[in-house]
């Protein structure tokens, strides 16, 4: 697994949504951490969904239904 953090990409992404906002200190690293945890939660949820349906692979609908839950959970 790649372990480096795409710091400038993260900054550009945030700049695209909120051009007036600046990231101070090492805040971008924390954004990355937050993002990783988001993916982690999504993965867990999708996996449980797939196991419930006794499917060996993760399919489209598993991700869609778990994405709804996790995006709701990750509101600030």
């Amino acid at each position: 697994m790649k372990r480096t953090v795409p710091r400038s990409t993260l900054k550009n992404l945030l700049k695209k949504h909120k051009p007036q906002l600046r990231l101070g200190g090492n805040a971008d690293l924390l954004v990355h951490l937050n993002f990783l945890l988001f993916l982690f939660r999504l993965a867990e949820e999708a996996r449980t969904k797939a196991i419930e349906e006794k499917s060996k692979i993760i399919k489209y609908e598993h991700v869609v239904s778990s994405a709804k839950i996790i995006l709701k959970k990750s509101r600030g």
């Binding site: 945030l14 949504h17 906002l21 200190g25 990783l36 993916l39 993965a43 509101r75 600030g76």
Partner: protein, 98 residues
């Protein structure tokens, strides 16, 4: 990254959905950060804002502080920047803002 976390095969369509989720997620994230920063009358996003965000997402709890999450998920180079480490000569790097 996603494929690393699921530890299971994933279909192509599912990965596309993950990508779209990421976009939605970043949109939410930037909105929230904007709200926190403007509320504090700042134009900069502080690490404290991110901490608050993660608290509200239920990631940081009393049992799971931020430092533990950093240690678990980020590589050492970045951990060094985020968590102050005491070195010899009673110096702490990076310096804590007072």
């Amino acid at each position: 990254m996603f494929t690393h976390y699921v530890k299971m095969p994933v279909t192509k369509e599912a990965l596309e959905v993950v990508e779209r989720c990421m976009n939605v997620y970043f949109k939410q994230l930037s909105n929230d950060l904007d709200a926190y920063a403007t509320h504090a009358r700042r134009k900069m996003v502080d690490p404290a804002d991110l901490e608050l965000l993660m608290k509200r997402q239920g990631l940081i709890t009393d049992k799971m502080p931020l430092h533990v999450l950093v240690e678990r998920h980020l590589p050492f180079e970045y951990r060094k920047l985020l968590i102050p480490i005491a070195t010899s000569g009673n110096k702490v790097i990076p310096q804590k803002p007072t």
